[in-house]
Symmetry: C2
Subunit: 107 residues, 2 copies
């Protein structure tokens, strides 16, 4: 079973859960109140998010508080870095122009 952060954030419900938890740690029941799906479905999302280390748990009696592991989000940022370099570069447009010249040459 593939389980990485990109697959984790692919689901819109999971992105909403991440946004919720980013503000403050919450229990599965409290989270589920914000969605139209069952608590069990939320629990499965929490498991998926936990499996790729996006969440950490803290048990408080019979309640479990889920909290966002914000550092893990940096992985996406790191992946984006290579593309950020492209769009921030002023040579960007030049490259495109050169590629077009290359293609036109073939015609």
């Amino acid at each position: 079973m593939r389980r990485d952060i990109f697959q984790a954030i692919a689901d819109p419900t999971r992105r909403s859960i991440i946004a919720l938890i980013a503000v403050q740690a919450m229990t599965p029941n409290a989270i589920a109140e914000n969605f139209d799906i069952t608590r069990q479905a939320v629990s499965k999302h929490l498991r998926i998010l936990s499996e790729c280390d996006l969440l950490k748990q803290e048990q408080q009696g019979r309640e479990i508080y889920y909290q966002l592991e914000i550092d893990k989000m940096k992985e996406i940022d790191q992946w984006l870095e290579q593309y950020r370099q492209i769009w921030e570069s002023r040579f960007d447009q030049l490259d495109t122009y050169l590629a077009k010249l290359q293609k036109d040459k073939k015609q």
Copy 2:
């Protein structure tokens, strides 16, 4: 059919295709040479990436050059922004500490 950029980058093959095309525009055949799947499978990935405006096409005779629409990648960056604010903030640790105090109070 759901089709957004987060679902598009969820697949590792598609992320590789994005990385390839980021360097220079390529034809489906040329892209497929880099993978162990059929050209048709690559074509389906290209369609998915195109459907969420991550790629643009340029026809050159019977060849089609696919190019990365780098601006679209900024959407991910924008989504990350809210979390970047969290991890870059020095109040980050304070918030966590306050949340813990809150929870401990309940015990």
